[in-house]
């Protein structure tokens, strides 16, 4: 009997791991509902993409090389976020700062490119007021950008936490959710890149 029962500290660890797994699952459910949010914005965009109200269409507005750089930056940041999480699991604090630091830099780079694109469209008179197509475009891409902004703030908070408290199990649980969030945003961006930019330019 005593061989079957684990010592109390191991039991405690297992209970905590189980609770952590439930928290991460809850976060996963949130991500899936966020998928539905983005799906409705994609549907609105797909319906309105032809409604330019005499204004410019996608192929007159978007620069594909510019968007490719944005895409590659975000893709690389998703990869480095994964490496950062692996480093956190190894309890390697320097590597955590290195990889999440690179992730944040690439995230800021992506966001600054997006803001400069929005700014350029706005000053040229092609804001969200111009047409149904541009309203849908700004809502979809802007919602993604707002998520990226939230992700960057969260990442900065987590890095401060790692600096102050090291890599405890709670921190690792939160870094797990953060990197899930970041990979999720990269996947949403693949579809924005494909549907908004590539199909917008190619058809």
């Amino acid at each position: 009997m005593s061989e079957v029962l684990a010592p109390p500290e191991v039991q405690h660890l297992n209970q905590r791991q189980e609770a952590d797994a439930k928290t991460v699952f809850g976060f996963w459910v949130y991500l899936m509902t966020d998928c539905v949010l983005f799906a409705s914005l994609f549907a609105a965009f797909a319906v309105l993409r032809g409604n330019t109200f005499g204004g410019p269409a996608g192929n007159e507005l978007f620069s594909l090389p510019f968007v490719l750089i944005e895409t590659l930056a975000l893709l690389t940041s998703s990869f480095t976020a994964g490496l950062g999480l692996l480093a956190a699991r190894r309890r390697d604090r320097n590597q955590v700062f290195l990889w999440f630091g690179i992730t944040m830099l690439l995230g800021f780079f992506f966001l600054s490119l997006e803001i400069s694109e929005f700014h350029k469209l706005y000053v040229e008179g092609n804001s969200w007021r111009r047409s149904g197509f541009l309203s849908a475009f700004f809502t979809l891409v802007g919602t993604h950008g707002a998520h990226i902004t939230a992700g960057l703030i969260w990442m900065a908070v987590m890095m401060a936490r790692v600096a102050r408290q090291g890599l405890g199990s709670v921190t690792i649980k939160r870094l797990t959710m953060l990197s899930l969030f970041w990979h999720f945003l990269d996947i949403i961006w693949i579809f924005i890149f494909t549907i908004v930019y590539l199909m917008g330019a190619g058809i």
Binding site: W28, V36, L72, T194, L198
Partner: protein, 122 residues
């Protein structure tokens, strides 16, 4: 025993190798989609299907190599929730397009009687 636990964890969370594989595949798929458009390989529906196929492939690559979907032990609640979300997404997107296409057809212009007979088959 301890070794088994560690390898189980690696299977569930991935390794540098799985992340690097996913990253390499994603870059190739992204560049392929970009070149399809820039080099004008396809037009119209051919392009739409090719780009959609590349995007869905990249979705699957990232789900497996970055998010480690399908590596959890049973019962696979993560996978179940994802399948349900995918169903809602498909209904939402294709349902909206279907409805709005009909609405546009019925509102855009008053079709001639011949056109109605041709489109609706009576």
């Amino acid at each position: 025993m301890n070794k088994a636990v560690v390898s189980h964890h690696e299977a569930a969370h991935g390794s540098v190798k799985t992340y690097a594989t996913g990253f390499a595949f994603s870059i190739i798929l992204t560049l392929a989609a970009y070149l399809l458009v820039v080099k004008n390989v396809f037009n119209g529906w051919g392009l739409i299907f090719a780009l959609a196929a590349l995007a869905v492939t990249q979705l699957l690559v990232q789900l497996v190599f970055f998010l480690h979907v399908g590596r959890e032990s049973k019962p696979r609640w993560n996978l179940t929730v994802m399948a349900f979300a995918a169903m809602v997404v498909v209904i939402l997107v294709f349902g909206s397009l279907w409805i709005m296409k009909n609405l546009q057809y019925n509102h855009a212009k008053i079709p001639s009687t011949e056109q109605i007979i041709k489109d609706e088959g009576y």
